[in-house]
C-alpha cells in the first residue's frame, strides 16, 4: 500500500500541482494582457483606457470575464452542434498544453524548471501551434455562416503559409544548437558576453522573420484578416457568444503569450540575464524570462496600435515570396557557415 502511494499517487499529485502552478498564473496573465492591451493602446492614442472598475481600472478584466460568464450561450439553428461546441475548446486547450515544455529557469542543481523536459521540445511546440488552425477552421465551418466560413478559410491558409517560414527559422536555430530540447537551446545562448550570445544577434534577420510570422500565426495585427471587422464582421467567431466566445478570446491571447515565450527561448536567451555581472545575476531566471515575454508582448500591442491591416494578396506575397525564400536561404547560409568555420555544435542529443 505504501509503495502504491509512493509510486502512483504522489507523482500524480506532484504533476497536478505543477500543472496548476503553470496554468493559474498563465490565465491571470491572459486576463491582464487584455487589460494591458487596452491601456497601452489607449496611451498610444492619448486616451485613458479603462479606468472606472477598481483602482486604475485594474478590476476591468474580472468584470469582463463575469459579463461573458453570465451571458447566454447561443447555438445557431443551422450550426453543426458538436463541432460548434468543440471548436473553442480545442483552441483554448491547445493554447494551454503547449506550456508543458517551456523551460522557466534552472534549478540550483542545473536541471531545467519545466513540466516535461522532452528531447523534441521545439517540435512539440511546432506541432501544437500547427494544430491551432483546427479550432478556427472548425468554428468557421460549423457556424454555417458565410462570414464565419470565409474567416476560417482565410485563417487556415494564412497559418499554414506562415508555419513554413517559422519551421525554417527554427531549423536555423537548431543548426546552431545541435539539439531539439528547449533547455539546451537556452543553455546554448549562455556565454561570458551576456546578451551578445543570444541568437537574436547572430541570427538577427531570422529573429525578425520569426516574430513577424508569429504575428501572422496568432492572427494578430497587421495580419488579423480572419476577423477583419470591415469585411467579415468578426470572422470565424461571429456566431459565438458568452463563454464559447471567451474561450476563443482567451485562446488568442494565450497564443500571443506562447509566441512571445517561444521568441524569448529561441532568440532572447530564455531565463539568462542580459549581463553576467552582479546586479543582473541576482535576479532569478524565471523573472528574466517573464520580463522578456512582457517585452515581446509589448511589441505585439505596439504593432497593433501602429500598423494598418495588410491586404490579403499582400499577406500571401509576404509569406511565400519574401519570408520563405529568405528563410530557406538562411538555412543554407547558416549551415554553410557552421561547416566552413568549424562552429558546428558538439554532439548533444
Amino acid at each position: 500500500m505504501v509503495e502504491f502511494w509512493s509510486v502512483w499517487i504522489w507523482p500524480t499529485v506532484w504533476i497536478v500541482i505543477k500543472i496548476v502552478a503553470i496554468v493559474l498564473p498563465l490565465l491571470l496573465a491572459v486576463a491582464y494582457l487584455t487589460f494591458a492591451e487596452r491601456k497601452v493602446i489607449a496611451a498610444m492614442h492619448r486616451r485613458k483606457g479603462p479606468n472606472v472598475v477598481g483602482p486604475f481600472g485594474l478590476l476591468q478584466p474580472m468584470a469582463d470575464g463575469l459579463k461573458l460568464f453570465l451571458k447566454e450561450t447561443v447555438i445557431p439553428t443551422g450550426a453543426n452542434r458538436a463541432v460548434f461546441v468543440i471548436a473553442p475548446m480545442i483552441t483554448f486547450i491547445l493554447a494551454l498544453v503547449a506550456w508543458a515544455v517551456i523551460p522557466f529557469g534552472q534549478m540550483s542543481d542545473g536541471t531545467p524548471m519545466v513540466l516535461a523536459d522532452i528531447n523534441v521540445g521545439i517540435l512539440y511546440l511546432f506541432a501544437i501551434s500547427s494544430l491551432g488552425v483546427y479550432g478556427i477552421i472548425m468554428a468557421g465551418w460549423a457556424s454555417n455562416s458565410k462570414y464565419a466560413f470565409l474567416g476560417g478559410i482565410r485563417s487556415a491558409a494564412q497559418m499554414v503559409s506562415y508555419e513554413v517560414s517559422i519551421g525554417f527559422v527554427i531549423i536555423t536555430v537548431l543548426l546552431c544548437v545541435g539539439s531539439l530540447n528547449l533547455s539546451r537551446i537556452v543553455e546554448a545562448q549562455a556565454g561570458p558576453w551576456g546578451l551578445f550570445h543570444w541568437f537574436a544577434f547572430p541570427l538577427m534577420p531570422m529573429a525578425v522573420i520569426f516574430f513577424v510570422s508569429g504575428l501572422a500565426e496568432t492572427n494578430r495585427h497587421p495580419f488579423d484578416l480572419p476577423e477583419a471587422e470591415a469585411e467579415l464582421v468578426s470572422g470565424y467567431n461571429v456566431e459565438y457568444s458568452a463563454m464559447a466566445f471567451a474561450l476563443f478570446f482567451l485562446g488568442e491571447y494565450a497564443n500571443m503569450i506562447l509566441m512571445s515565450a517561444m521568441t524569448s527561448v529561441l532568440f532572447l536567451g530564455g531565463w539568462l540575464p542580459p549581463f553576467n555581472i552582479a546586479p543582473f545575476t541576482w535576479i532569478p531566471g524565471p523573472i528574466w524570462f517573464i520580463l522578456k515575454i512582457a517585452a515581446c508582448l509589448f511589441v505585439f500591442l505596439w504593432v497593433r496600435a501602429t500598423l494598418p491591416r495588410y491586404r490579403y494578396d499582400q499577406l500571401m506575397r509576404l509569406g511565400w515570396k519574401v519570408f520563405l525564400p529568405v528563410s530557406l536561404a538562411a538555412v543554407v547560409i547558416v549551415a554553410g557557415a557552421l561547416i566552413t568555420f568549424g562552429w558546428m555544435p558538439a554532439r548533444a542529443g
Binding site: 523534441v120 517540435l123 500547427s130 477552421i137 487556415a156
Partner: protein, 205 residues
C-alpha cells in the same frame, strides 16, 4: 508498465474506432475530423514506442498540413456525397481485395519476423545504431544521411517533381489582371509621375 499498457489500449482503441468512423460517418467533414483523430492517436502510439521524433513529425506533417488540405477540399468542393455512396456495394469487392492483400503482406512480414528473425534483421542491424545510445532524432539523421542517402535524395526529387507538376497544371496567366508590382512601386520617383506648374492667377493652364 501497467500505465503504458492502458495508454496503448486507449490510443489503439480510439485509433481503430475513429478509423471506422472515417468511412462510416455521413458528413465528409466529420470524416476528415475523425481521420485527424486517428492520426493523432497513431502519434500517441509512436510516443509509447519511444519514437518521439516520428510522433511529432506525424502531427506536424499529416495533422498540421495534409489534413488541413483535405479539409479545404472537402469544404470547398461541391460534391454530392450521397450520390458517391450509391456505388458502395459495387466497389466493395475491389476495396475488400485491396484490404486482403495488405493484410496478407503484413502477415507475411510478421511471420517472417517471428520465424526467422536473423534473416530480416541482419541487414538492418548492420546500420541501425543501438537504441538508448543516442536520441532517435540523431539516429534517424545518421541513417538517412549515410546509408539511405540515395533513397532520401530520390524521395526529395520525386516530391520536387510533384510540386512543379502541380504548379504547371494549375498555373495560368490571365491577361488583363492588374497586379501589384512592389518593385515598380518603390522605383517610382515624384519626378516620373507628377509635374508642378506655376499657374498665374486668373488664367487656366
Amino acid at each position: 508498465m501497467i500505465v503504458q499498457a492502458l495508454a496503448f489500449y486507449l490510443f489503439a482503441a480510439i485509433a481503430i474506432a475513429s478509423g471506422a468512423m472515417v468511412i462510416s460517418s455521413r458528413n465528409p467533414v466529420h470524416s476528415v475530423l475523425f481521420l485527424i483523430l486517428a492520426f493523432f492517436n497513431a502519434a500517441g502510439l509512436f510516443v509509447l514506442m519511444g519514437a518521439e521524433f516520428l510522433a511529432m513529425i506525424l502531427v506536424v506533417v499529416y495533422v498540421g498540413a495534409v489534413a488541413v488540405m483535405f479539409m479545404f477540399v472537402v469544404m470547398m468542393l461541391d460534391i454530392n456525397f450521397a450520390e458517391l455512396r450509391q456505388g458502395f456495394l459495387r466497389y466493395l469487392p475491389i476495396g475488400g481485395l485491396v484490404g486482403l492483400i495488405l493484410l496478407a503482406e503484413l502477415l507475411i512480414i510478421l511471420a517472417g519476423w517471428q520465424l526467422a528473425p536473423a534473416a530480416t534483421q541482419s541487414e538492418m542491424l548492420a546500420v541501425t545504431p543501438p537504441p538508448g545510445e543516442m536520441s532517435n532524432t540523431m539516429a534517424l539523421g545518421q541513417l538517412i544521411y549515410t546509408h539511405y542517402i540515395n533513397l532520401f535524395q530520390a524521395a526529395g526529387i520525386i516530391l520536387l517533381i510533384a510540386m512543379i507538376g502541380a504548379i504547371v497544371l494549375t498555373h495560368r496567366r490571365r491577361p488583363g489582371v492588374r497586379r501589384q508590382d512592389i518593385g515598380r512601386q518603390l522605383q517610382r520617383r515624384p519626378a516620373d509621375t507628377i509635374e508642378v506648374r506655376k499657374i498665374p492667377t486668373g488664367k487656366g493652364l
